[in-house]
Protein backbone atom coordinates (compact mmCIF):
# COMPACT_ATOMS: atom_id res chain seq x y z
CA UNK A 1 0.00 0.00 0.00
CA UNK A 2 1.36 3.42 -0.90
CA UNK A 3 -0.44 6.11 1.10
CA UNK A 4 -1.24 9.23 -0.86
CA UNK A 5 -1.01 7.56 -4.27
CA UNK A 6 -4.43 7.00 -5.86
CA UNK A 7 -5.28 3.32 -6.01
CA UNK A 8 -6.90 1.55 -8.95
CA UNK A 9 -8.15 -2.03 -9.12
CA UNK A 10 -8.12 -4.50 -12.00
CA UNK A 11 -8.03 -8.19 -12.79
CA UNK A 12 -5.11 -7.69 -15.17
CA UNK A 13 -2.73 -4.86 -15.90
CA UNK A 14 -0.99 -5.09 -19.28
CA UNK A 15 2.35 -3.27 -19.49
CA UNK A 16 3.20 -2.12 -23.01
CA UNK A 17 0.87 -1.04 -25.80
CA UNK A 18 2.67 -2.64 -28.75
CA UNK A 19 1.10 -5.50 -30.70
CA UNK A 20 1.77 -7.98 -27.86
CA UNK A 21 0.14 -5.79 -25.23
CA UNK A 22 -2.79 -4.71 -27.39
CA UNK A 23 -3.57 -8.29 -28.44
CA UNK A 24 -3.34 -9.35 -24.80
CA UNK A 25 -5.65 -6.58 -23.61
CA UNK A 26 -8.19 -7.29 -26.34
CA UNK A 27 -8.25 -11.01 -25.55
CA UNK A 28 -8.42 -10.40 -21.78
CA UNK A 29 -11.41 -8.12 -22.29
CA UNK A 30 -13.08 -10.67 -24.57
CA UNK A 31 -12.61 -13.22 -21.80
CA UNK A 32 -14.50 -10.94 -19.42
CA UNK A 33 -11.55 -9.64 -17.41
CA UNK A 34 -11.32 -6.12 -16.08
CA UNK A 35 -8.15 -4.90 -17.76
CA UNK A 36 -5.93 -1.80 -17.89
CA UNK A 37 -3.31 -1.27 -20.62
CA UNK A 38 -0.40 1.11 -20.00
CA UNK A 39 2.15 2.53 -22.41
CA UNK A 40 4.77 5.19 -21.88
CA UNK A 41 4.56 6.49 -25.47
CA UNK A 42 2.06 9.18 -26.43
CA UNK A 43 0.47 6.74 -28.88
CA UNK A 44 -0.45 3.07 -28.98
CA UNK A 45 1.28 0.57 -31.26
CA UNK A 46 4.78 0.23 -29.81
CA UNK A 47 7.33 0.19 -32.61
CA UNK A 48 4.72 -0.43 -35.32
CA UNK A 49 3.79 3.20 -36.13
CA UNK A 50 7.41 3.80 -37.15
CA UNK A 51 7.68 0.62 -39.27
CA UNK A 52 6.05 2.14 -42.34
CA UNK A 53 7.10 -0.67 -44.72
CA UNK A 54 4.78 -3.50 -45.73
CA UNK A 55 5.32 -7.01 -44.38
CA UNK A 56 3.00 -7.20 -41.38
CA UNK A 57 0.00 -9.33 -40.63
CA UNK A 58 0.03 -11.98 -43.36
CA UNK A 59 -0.94 -14.64 -40.83
CA UNK A 60 -2.90 -12.65 -38.28
CA UNK A 61 -5.07 -10.58 -40.64
CA UNK A 62 -4.43 -12.68 -43.81
CA UNK A 63 -3.44 -9.50 -45.57
CA UNK A 64 -0.14 -7.71 -46.02
CA UNK A 65 -0.16 -4.48 -44.04
CA UNK A 66 2.34 -1.82 -43.04
CA UNK A 67 3.24 -1.49 -39.36
CA UNK A 68 0.97 1.52 -38.72
CA UNK A 69 -1.94 -0.25 -40.43
CA UNK A 70 -1.45 -3.35 -38.30
CA UNK A 71 -1.34 -1.23 -35.16
CA UNK A 72 -4.45 0.71 -36.19
CA UNK A 73 -6.45 -2.50 -36.64
CA UNK A 74 -5.58 -3.73 -33.16
CA UNK A 75 -6.19 -0.28 -31.67
CA UNK A 76 -9.61 -0.11 -33.33
CA UNK A 77 -10.57 -3.45 -31.81
CA UNK A 78 -9.34 -2.22 -28.43
CA UNK A 79 -11.48 0.90 -28.61
CA UNK A 80 -14.55 -0.96 -29.90
CA UNK A 81 -14.36 -3.32 -26.94
CA UNK A 82 -13.97 -0.42 -24.56
CA UNK A 83 -10.64 -1.58 -23.14
CA UNK A 84 -9.32 0.94 -20.64
CA UNK A 85 -5.89 2.22 -21.62
CA UNK A 86 -3.55 5.04 -20.82
CA UNK A 87 -0.75 6.41 -22.95
CA UNK A 88 2.07 8.59 -21.58
CA UNK A 89 1.86 6.24 -18.60
CA UNK A 90 5.26 4.93 -17.59
CA UNK A 91 5.50 1.90 -15.35
CA UNK A 92 8.15 2.57 -12.71
CA UNK A 93 7.89 -0.57 -10.65
CA UNK A 94 6.08 -3.85 -10.24
CA UNK A 95 5.53 -5.47 -6.83
CA UNK A 96 4.46 -9.00 -6.21
CA UNK A 97 2.82 -9.39 -2.79
CA UNK A 98 1.13 -12.73 -3.30
CA UNK A 99 -0.28 -14.80 -6.12
CA UNK A 100 -3.39 -12.67 -6.59
CA UNK A 101 -2.02 -9.38 -5.25
CA UNK A 102 0.29 -7.42 -7.46
CA UNK A 103 0.89 -3.70 -7.83
CA UNK A 104 1.97 -1.75 -10.86
CA UNK A 105 3.18 1.73 -10.00
CA UNK A 106 3.06 4.18 -12.88
CA UNK A 107 3.40 7.87 -13.52
CA UNK A 108 1.30 9.82 -15.99
CA UNK A 109 0.60 13.46 -16.80
CA UNK A 110 -2.12 13.42 -14.12
CA UNK A 111 0.23 12.04 -11.47
CA UNK A 112 1.38 8.73 -10.01
CA UNK A 113 -0.94 5.76 -9.50
CA UNK A 114 -0.85 2.31 -7.98
CA UNK A 115 -2.80 -0.22 -9.99
CA UNK A 116 -3.58 -3.42 -8.09
CA UNK A 117 -4.13 -6.53 -10.16
CA UNK A 118 -4.46 -10.28 -9.77
CA UNK A 119 -2.28 -10.91 -12.79
CA UNK A 120 0.19 -8.91 -14.88
CA UNK A 121 0.95 -9.29 -18.56
CA UNK A 122 4.33 -7.84 -19.31
CA UNK A 123 4.72 -6.80 -22.97
CA UNK A 124 7.32 -4.02 -22.78
CA UNK A 125 9.18 -5.07 -25.95
CA UNK A 126 12.92 -4.91 -26.44
CA UNK A 127 15.77 -2.44 -26.43
CA UNK A 128 18.39 -2.04 -29.14
CA UNK A 129 22.04 -2.89 -28.68
CA UNK A 130 24.11 0.28 -28.84
CA UNK A 131 27.52 1.11 -30.30
CA UNK A 132 29.49 0.46 -27.11
CA UNK A 133 27.94 -2.98 -26.70
CA UNK A 134 29.45 -4.10 -29.99
CA UNK A 135 32.85 -2.68 -29.18
CA UNK A 136 32.98 0.42 -31.39
CA UNK A 137 35.51 2.94 -30.06
CA UNK A 138 36.56 6.45 -31.08
CA UNK A 139 35.23 9.99 -30.82
CA UNK A 140 31.99 10.86 -29.05
CA UNK A 141 30.32 12.48 -32.00
CA UNK A 142 26.84 13.31 -33.20
CA UNK A 143 25.50 11.14 -36.00
CA UNK A 144 25.59 7.75 -34.28
CA UNK A 145 22.10 6.30 -33.96
CA UNK A 146 20.48 2.97 -33.39
CA UNK A 147 18.25 1.88 -36.25
CA UNK A 148 15.17 2.46 -34.13
CA UNK A 149 16.22 5.99 -33.21
CA UNK A 150 16.82 6.83 -36.86
CA UNK A 151 13.52 5.23 -37.81
CA UNK A 152 11.64 7.26 -35.21
CA UNK A 153 13.29 10.48 -36.42
CA UNK A 154 12.47 9.80 -40.08
CA UNK A 155 9.14 8.07 -39.92
CA UNK A 156 7.47 9.69 -36.94
CA UNK A 157 9.04 13.17 -36.87
CA UNK A 158 9.99 13.56 -40.55
CA UNK A 159 13.61 14.48 -39.80
CA UNK A 160 16.48 13.15 -41.91
CA UNK A 161 19.26 11.93 -39.58
CA UNK A 162 22.08 12.17 -42.17
CA UNK A 163 23.19 12.07 -45.80
CA UNK A 164 26.08 9.61 -46.07
CA UNK A 165 25.34 6.53 -44.10
CA UNK A 166 27.09 3.38 -42.94
CA UNK A 167 24.88 0.69 -41.45
CA UNK A 168 26.14 -1.89 -39.00
CA UNK A 169 24.18 -5.15 -39.25
CA UNK A 170 22.39 -6.80 -42.18
CA UNK A 171 19.37 -8.12 -40.29
CA UNK A 172 15.93 -7.10 -41.48
CA UNK A 173 16.00 -3.93 -39.45
CA UNK A 174 19.36 -2.81 -40.91
CA UNK A 175 18.28 -3.62 -44.46
CA UNK A 176 14.96 -1.85 -44.07
CA UNK A 177 16.75 1.24 -42.78
CA UNK A 178 19.16 1.04 -45.73
CA UNK A 179 16.14 1.23 -48.04
CA UNK A 180 14.55 4.10 -46.14
CA UNK A 181 17.73 6.16 -46.32
CA UNK A 182 18.27 5.35 -50.01
CA UNK A 183 14.66 6.18 -50.90
CA UNK A 184 14.92 9.52 -49.16
CA UNK A 185 17.96 10.37 -51.23
CA UNK A 186 20.77 9.61 -48.79
CA UNK A 187 23.85 7.72 -49.95
CA UNK A 188 24.14 4.39 -48.17
CA UNK A 189 27.86 3.75 -48.45
CA UNK A 190 27.92 0.31 -46.89
CA UNK A 191 26.12 -2.30 -44.88
CA UNK A 192 28.68 -4.02 -42.68
CA UNK A 193 27.93 -7.52 -41.42
CA UNK A 194 30.03 -9.49 -38.96
CA UNK A 195 28.80 -12.91 -40.05
CA UNK A 196 29.68 -14.55 -43.39
CA UNK A 197 26.01 -14.43 -44.47
CA UNK A 198 23.37 -11.67 -44.46
CA UNK A 199 21.17 -11.64 -41.37
CA UNK A 200 17.89 -10.72 -43.04
CA UNK A 201 15.22 -12.43 -45.10
CA UNK A 202 15.84 -12.87 -48.84
CA UNK A 203 13.16 -10.32 -49.72
CA UNK A 204 14.99 -7.72 -47.67
CA UNK A 205 18.46 -8.65 -48.91
CA UNK A 206 17.11 -7.74 -52.36
CA UNK A 207 17.03 -4.12 -51.19
CA UNK A 208 20.81 -3.99 -51.51
CA UNK A 209 20.63 -4.78 -55.22
CA UNK A 210 17.74 -2.38 -55.74
CA UNK A 211 19.88 0.52 -54.59
CA UNK A 212 23.42 -0.73 -55.42
CA UNK A 213 24.39 -0.78 -51.77
CA UNK A 214 27.68 -2.56 -51.01
CA UNK A 215 27.45 -5.35 -48.43
CA UNK A 216 30.60 -6.26 -46.53
CA UNK A 217 30.20 -9.75 -45.07
CA UNK A 218 32.69 -10.95 -42.42
CA UNK A 219 33.53 -7.33 -41.62
CA UNK A 220 33.00 -5.12 -38.62
CA UNK A 221 33.01 -1.44 -37.78
CA UNK A 222 35.54 -0.87 -35.02
CA UNK A 223 36.07 2.87 -34.76
CA UNK A 224 34.33 6.15 -35.48
CA UNK A 225 36.12 9.48 -35.98
CA UNK A 226 35.03 13.07 -36.40
CA UNK A 227 34.98 16.56 -34.92
CA UNK A 228 31.51 17.19 -33.58
CA UNK A 229 29.90 14.93 -36.16
CA UNK A 230 30.82 11.56 -37.66
CA UNK A 231 33.35 11.99 -40.49
CA UNK A 232 34.62 8.48 -41.09
CA UNK A 233 34.33 4.96 -39.75
CA UNK A 234 36.95 2.23 -39.69
CA UNK A 235 36.03 -1.21 -41.00
CA UNK A 236 38.06 -4.38 -40.56
CA UNK A 237 37.74 -7.87 -41.99
CA UNK A 238 37.30 -10.83 -39.65
CA UNK A 239 38.26 -14.48 -40.03
CA UNK A 240 35.97 -17.49 -39.53
CA UNK A 241 36.40 -17.21 -35.75
CA UNK A 242 35.30 -13.57 -35.98
CA UNK A 243 38.80 -12.36 -35.07
CA UNK A 244 40.02 -9.18 -36.74
CA UNK A 245 42.51 -9.75 -39.56
CA UNK A 246 45.47 -7.40 -39.02
CA UNK A 247 46.19 -5.07 -41.91
CA UNK A 248 42.73 -5.48 -43.45
CA UNK A 249 41.30 -2.23 -42.10
CA UNK A 250 40.00 0.60 -44.27
CA UNK A 251 38.05 3.82 -43.71
CA UNK A 252 34.69 4.84 -45.12
CA UNK A 253 33.73 8.51 -45.15
CA UNK A 254 30.25 9.09 -43.77
CA UNK A 255 28.33 11.54 -41.62
CA UNK A 256 26.07 8.96 -40.03
CA UNK A 257 26.53 5.56 -38.44
CA UNK A 258 23.46 3.41 -37.86
CA UNK A 259 23.74 0.56 -35.39
CA UNK A 260 21.42 -2.31 -36.10
CA UNK A 261 23.07 -4.99 -34.05
CA UNK A 262 20.11 -6.76 -32.61
CA UNK A 263 17.50 -6.38 -29.92
CA UNK A 264 17.51 -7.52 -26.32
CA UNK A 265 14.27 -8.28 -24.42
CA UNK A 266 13.59 -5.54 -21.94
CA UNK A 267 13.21 -7.34 -18.60
CA UNK A 268 14.56 -5.07 -15.84
CA UNK A 269 11.22 -4.67 -14.11
CA UNK A 270 10.81 -8.44 -14.13
CA UNK A 271 14.24 -9.31 -12.77
CA UNK A 272 13.53 -6.82 -9.98
CA UNK A 273 10.78 -9.14 -8.72
CA UNK A 274 12.89 -12.26 -9.14
CA UNK A 275 11.72 -13.54 -12.52
CA UNK A 276 14.10 -16.19 -13.84
CA UNK A 277 15.77 -15.28 -17.16
CA UNK A 278 16.91 -17.65 -19.92
CA UNK A 279 20.35 -16.39 -21.00
CA UNK A 280 19.86 -17.63 -24.57
CA UNK A 281 16.62 -15.75 -25.28
CA UNK A 282 17.37 -12.90 -22.88
CA UNK A 283 13.73 -13.16 -21.83
CA UNK A 284 12.03 -15.00 -18.98
CA UNK A 285 11.76 -18.76 -18.59
CA UNK A 286 8.07 -19.50 -19.21
CA UNK A 287 5.56 -22.33 -19.23
CA UNK A 288 3.05 -23.04 -21.99
CA UNK A 289 0.75 -20.26 -20.74
CA UNK A 290 3.67 -17.84 -21.01
CA UNK A 291 3.73 -17.52 -17.24
CA UNK A 292 7.13 -16.58 -15.79
CA UNK A 293 8.69 -18.15 -12.70
CA UNK A 294 6.69 -15.63 -10.62
CA UNK A 295 3.10 -16.96 -10.53
CA UNK A 296 0.59 -14.68 -12.22
CA UNK A 297 3.18 -12.68 -14.13
CA UNK A 298 2.89 -13.43 -17.85
CA UNK A 299 5.04 -12.19 -20.71
CA UNK A 300 4.52 -11.83 -24.47
CA UNK A 301 6.16 -10.40 -27.57
CA UNK A 302 9.72 -9.15 -27.77
CA UNK A 303 9.97 -9.08 -23.99
CA UNK A 304 9.67 -12.89 -24.14
CA UNK A 305 12.03 -13.45 -27.06
CA UNK A 306 12.91 -11.42 -30.15
CA UNK A 307 10.29 -12.05 -32.82
CA UNK A 308 10.62 -11.15 -36.48
CA UNK A 309 6.93 -11.60 -37.21
CA UNK A 310 4.35 -9.41 -35.58
CA UNK A 311 1.81 -12.21 -36.09
CA UNK A 312 3.57 -14.39 -33.53
CA UNK A 313 3.83 -11.43 -31.17
CA UNK A 314 0.06 -10.92 -31.25
CA UNK A 315 -0.50 -14.66 -30.86
CA UNK A 316 1.67 -14.64 -27.74
CA UNK A 317 -0.31 -11.72 -26.35
CA UNK A 318 -3.55 -13.66 -26.72
CA UNK A 319 -2.04 -16.73 -25.13
CA UNK A 320 -0.81 -14.72 -22.15
CA UNK A 321 -4.33 -13.31 -21.71
CA UNK A 322 -5.78 -16.81 -21.71
CA UNK A 323 -3.19 -17.75 -19.10
CA UNK A 324 -4.17 -14.77 -16.97
CA UNK A 325 -7.83 -15.77 -17.15
CA UNK A 326 -7.04 -19.32 -16.03
CA UNK A 327 -4.75 -18.03 -13.30
CA UNK A 328 -7.38 -15.73 -11.86
CA UNK A 329 -10.17 -18.29 -12.06
CA UNK A 330 -8.23 -21.18 -10.54
CA UNK A 331 -5.95 -19.19 -8.29
CA UNK A 332 -2.93 -20.43 -10.23
CA UNK A 333 -1.73 -22.30 -13.28
CA UNK A 334 -1.67 -25.90 -12.22
CA UNK A 335 -0.18 -28.91 -13.90
CA UNK A 336 0.38 -32.44 -12.70
CA UNK A 337 3.92 -32.12 -13.99
CA UNK A 338 6.01 -29.88 -16.20
CA UNK A 339 7.76 -31.31 -19.25
CA UNK A 340 11.14 -29.66 -19.74
CA UNK A 341 12.01 -28.53 -23.27
CA UNK A 342 15.71 -28.47 -24.06
CA UNK A 343 17.88 -27.16 -26.88
CA UNK A 344 19.55 -29.85 -28.96
CA UNK A 345 21.87 -29.72 -31.96
CA UNK A 346 21.76 -26.43 -33.95
CA UNK A 347 19.08 -24.82 -31.77
CA UNK A 348 20.23 -21.49 -30.39
CA UNK A 349 17.19 -20.52 -28.41
CA UNK A 350 13.65 -21.61 -27.77
CA UNK A 351 10.52 -20.92 -25.73
CA UNK A 352 8.40 -21.94 -23.89
CA UNK A 353 10.60 -23.92 -21.55
CA UNK A 354 8.06 -25.97 -19.57
CA UNK A 355 4.99 -27.68 -21.00
CA UNK A 356 2.01 -29.07 -19.15
CA UNK A 357 1.21 -31.63 -21.83
CA UNK A 358 -2.43 -30.73 -21.24
CA UNK A 359 -2.83 -28.35 -24.14
CA UNK A 360 -1.52 -27.86 -27.65
CA UNK A 361 1.42 -25.50 -27.77
CA UNK A 362 3.56 -23.59 -30.23
CA UNK A 363 7.31 -23.79 -29.77
CA UNK A 364 9.24 -20.78 -31.04
CA UNK A 365 12.89 -21.33 -31.85
CA UNK A 366 15.90 -20.10 -33.78
CA UNK A 367 18.72 -22.14 -35.25
CA UNK A 368 22.37 -21.37 -34.64
CA UNK A 369 23.52 -21.37 -38.29
CA UNK A 370 21.87 -21.43 -41.73
CA UNK A 371 21.24 -24.91 -43.16
CA UNK A 372 19.33 -26.30 -46.14
CA UNK A 373 17.22 -29.47 -46.29
CA UNK A 374 16.97 -30.02 -42.59
CA UNK A 375 14.60 -31.70 -40.23
CA UNK A 376 13.33 -30.44 -36.94
CA UNK A 377 13.29 -33.44 -34.63
CA UNK A 378 12.11 -34.23 -31.15
CA UNK A 379 13.54 -37.71 -30.64
CA UNK A 380 11.66 -38.43 -27.39
CA UNK A 381 8.31 -38.40 -29.20
CA UNK A 382 9.51 -39.29 -32.69
CA UNK A 383 8.43 -35.94 -34.14
CA UNK A 384 9.97 -34.87 -37.46
CA UNK A 385 9.24 -31.78 -39.51
CA UNK A 386 10.99 -31.23 -42.84
CA UNK A 387 12.32 -27.75 -43.57
CA UNK A 388 13.92 -26.77 -46.86
CA UNK A 389 15.74 -23.90 -45.20
CA UNK A 390 16.46 -22.85 -41.64
CA UNK A 391 18.31 -19.59 -40.98
CA UNK A 392 18.90 -17.67 -37.77
CA UNK A 393 17.07 -14.75 -39.45
CA UNK A 394 13.78 -16.59 -39.40
CA UNK A 395 12.13 -17.77 -36.23
CA UNK A 396 10.71 -21.27 -36.54
CA UNK A 397 7.38 -22.13 -35.03
CA UNK A 398 6.10 -25.67 -34.56
CA UNK A 399 2.89 -26.88 -33.11
CA UNK A 400 2.92 -29.75 -30.63
CA UNK A 401 -0.34 -31.46 -29.81
CA UNK A 402 -1.09 -32.29 -26.20
CA UNK A 403 -1.52 -35.98 -26.97
CA UNK A 404 1.85 -36.11 -28.74
CA UNK A 405 3.82 -34.99 -25.73
CA UNK A 406 1.60 -35.84 -22.76
CA UNK A 407 3.63 -38.81 -21.56
CA UNK A 408 7.09 -37.27 -21.88
CA UNK A 409 9.36 -36.16 -19.08
CA UNK A 410 11.54 -34.06 -21.31
CA UNK A 411 11.71 -32.97 -24.96
CA UNK A 412 14.89 -32.19 -26.87
CA UNK A 413 14.53 -30.09 -29.99
CA UNK A 414 17.17 -30.35 -32.70
CA UNK A 415 17.44 -29.10 -36.27
CA UNK A 416 19.67 -31.47 -38.22
CA UNK A 417 20.39 -32.78 -41.72
CA UNK A 418 17.87 -35.29 -43.00
Amino acid sequence: MFPGIPMLNYDVVVIGGGPAGMAAAVRAKELGLNVLLLDENDYLGGILPQCIHPGFGLHYFREELTGPEFAARLAKRLVELGVEYRTAARVMEIRNYSDLEKVVIFTSPSGAYQAWAKAIIYAAGARERHAFEIGIVGDRVAGVYTAGEAQTLMDIYGVMPGREVVIVGSGDVGLIMARRFALEGAKVKAVVELMPYPGGLARNVMILRDFDIPLYLSHKVVEVRGRGRVEKVKVVKVDENLNEIPGSEFWIEADTLIISAGLVPSVKKLTAIGVEIDPSTGGPVVNDRLETSVPGVFVAGNALLINDLVDYVAEQGELAAEGAKEFIENGGIGSRKWIRVEKGENVRLLAPHRLSGERDVYLYLRVARPMEDVELRIPEVGKRVKLSLATPAEMLRVKLKAEEIRNSEKLTVEVVRE
Binding site: D42, Y43, P49, I52, H53, P54, T66, P68, E69, A72, M154, D155, I156, Y157, G158, L183, E184, G185, L201, A202, R203, V205, M206, D210, S388, L389, E394
Partner: protein, 116 residues
Protein backbone atom coordinates in the same frame (compact mmCIF):
# COMPACT_ATOMS: atom_id res chain seq x y z
CA UNK B 1 23.17 -9.46 -76.13
CA UNK B 2 22.53 -12.01 -73.39
CA UNK B 3 22.00 -11.02 -69.80
CA UNK B 4 21.65 -13.40 -66.87
CA UNK B 5 19.83 -12.40 -63.71
CA UNK B 6 20.16 -14.38 -60.49
CA UNK B 7 17.51 -13.98 -57.81
CA UNK B 8 16.66 -15.49 -54.49
CA UNK B 9 12.94 -15.95 -54.87
CA UNK B 10 10.84 -14.10 -52.30
CA UNK B 11 7.43 -15.51 -53.15
CA UNK B 12 7.57 -18.00 -50.28
CA UNK B 13 10.07 -18.98 -47.57
CA UNK B 14 11.63 -21.72 -49.74
CA UNK B 15 13.93 -19.05 -51.21
CA UNK B 16 14.82 -20.79 -54.50
CA UNK B 17 17.79 -19.48 -56.48
CA UNK B 18 16.31 -18.64 -59.85
CA UNK B 19 18.20 -17.68 -63.00
CA UNK B 20 16.57 -15.74 -65.81
CA UNK B 21 18.37 -15.38 -69.14
CA UNK B 22 17.37 -12.53 -71.41
CA UNK B 23 18.44 -12.20 -75.05
CA UNK B 24 17.69 -8.96 -76.90
CA UNK B 25 14.99 -8.10 -74.42
CA UNK B 26 13.35 -11.53 -74.60
CA UNK B 27 13.27 -14.18 -71.89
CA UNK B 28 15.03 -17.26 -73.28
CA UNK B 29 15.39 -19.38 -70.16
CA UNK B 30 14.33 -19.68 -66.54
CA UNK B 31 15.93 -22.24 -64.22
CA UNK B 32 15.97 -23.01 -60.53
CA UNK B 33 12.33 -22.33 -59.69
CA UNK B 34 10.16 -24.99 -58.02
CA UNK B 35 6.76 -23.53 -58.83
CA UNK B 36 5.02 -21.44 -61.51
CA UNK B 37 4.58 -18.51 -59.13
CA UNK B 38 8.32 -18.33 -58.62
CA UNK B 39 8.92 -18.42 -62.36
CA UNK B 40 6.44 -15.64 -62.99
CA UNK B 41 7.92 -13.53 -60.23
CA UNK B 42 11.50 -13.98 -61.49
CA UNK B 43 10.54 -13.11 -65.08
CA UNK B 44 8.79 -9.95 -63.94
CA UNK B 45 11.71 -9.13 -61.64
CA UNK B 46 14.13 -9.42 -64.60
CA UNK B 47 12.01 -7.60 -67.15
CA UNK B 48 9.88 -5.11 -65.26
CA UNK B 49 10.70 -4.98 -61.53
CA UNK B 50 8.10 -3.20 -59.40
CA UNK B 51 7.96 -2.17 -55.79
CA UNK B 52 5.36 -0.88 -53.38
CA UNK B 53 6.83 2.39 -52.12
CA UNK B 54 6.38 3.95 -48.71
CA UNK B 55 7.36 7.24 -47.18
CA UNK B 56 6.12 9.87 -44.77
CA UNK B 57 4.52 13.20 -45.58
CA UNK B 58 4.40 16.21 -43.23
CA UNK B 59 0.97 16.92 -41.81
CA UNK B 60 -0.35 20.08 -40.13
CA UNK B 61 -2.49 19.81 -37.05
CA UNK B 62 -2.17 16.07 -36.40
CA UNK B 63 -1.09 14.25 -33.25
CA UNK B 64 2.23 13.38 -34.93
CA UNK B 65 4.13 15.62 -37.38
CA UNK B 66 3.88 13.12 -40.26
CA UNK B 67 1.54 10.60 -41.79
CA UNK B 68 2.96 7.49 -43.40
CA UNK B 69 1.88 6.68 -46.96
CA UNK B 70 2.25 3.86 -49.48
CA UNK B 71 1.46 3.38 -53.14
CA UNK B 72 -1.77 1.46 -53.68
CA UNK B 73 -0.01 -0.63 -56.34
CA UNK B 74 3.60 -1.60 -57.07
CA UNK B 75 5.51 1.04 -59.04
CA UNK B 76 8.01 0.28 -61.85
CA UNK B 77 11.45 0.57 -60.30
CA UNK B 78 12.79 3.19 -62.68
CA UNK B 79 9.99 5.58 -61.71
CA UNK B 80 10.78 5.44 -58.00
CA UNK B 81 13.17 8.43 -57.78
CA UNK B 82 10.61 10.64 -59.54
CA UNK B 83 7.82 9.41 -57.28
CA UNK B 84 9.95 10.16 -54.22
CA UNK B 85 10.49 13.72 -55.49
CA UNK B 86 6.74 14.11 -55.81
CA UNK B 87 6.20 12.78 -52.29
CA UNK B 88 8.82 15.13 -50.85
CA UNK B 89 6.81 18.15 -52.08
CA UNK B 90 3.57 16.87 -50.64
CA UNK B 91 2.06 18.46 -47.52
CA UNK B 92 -1.16 17.41 -45.83
CA UNK B 93 -3.54 18.82 -43.30
CA UNK B 94 -5.33 16.94 -40.54
CA UNK B 95 -7.74 15.24 -40.43
CA UNK B 96 -6.37 12.36 -42.50
CA UNK B 97 -8.06 8.98 -42.27
CA UNK B 98 -6.04 5.79 -42.46
CA UNK B 99 -6.70 4.25 -45.89
CA UNK B 100 -7.58 7.63 -47.44
CA UNK B 101 -6.16 8.39 -50.91
CA UNK B 102 -4.23 11.58 -50.20
CA UNK B 103 -2.74 12.15 -53.66
CA UNK B 104 -2.33 10.63 -57.08
CA UNK B 105 0.76 10.58 -59.26
CA UNK B 106 0.79 9.28 -62.84
CA UNK B 107 -2.31 7.27 -62.09
CA UNK B 108 -0.78 5.76 -58.94
CA UNK B 109 -2.79 6.30 -55.80
CA UNK B 110 -0.99 7.39 -52.64
CA UNK B 111 -2.73 5.99 -49.57
CA UNK B 112 -2.31 7.12 -45.96
CA UNK B 113 -1.24 4.27 -43.67
CA UNK B 114 -1.51 6.30 -40.45
CA UNK B 115 -4.27 8.67 -39.46
CA UNK B 116 -3.75 12.25 -38.33
Amino acid sequence: MTKTYRFTCIVCPLGCSIEVRIEDGKVVGVTGHTCPRGKEWAVEEATNPKRVIMSVVPVEGGALPTVSVKTADPVPKELIPELMKFLMELKLEAPVEIGEVVAEWNGIKIVATRGA
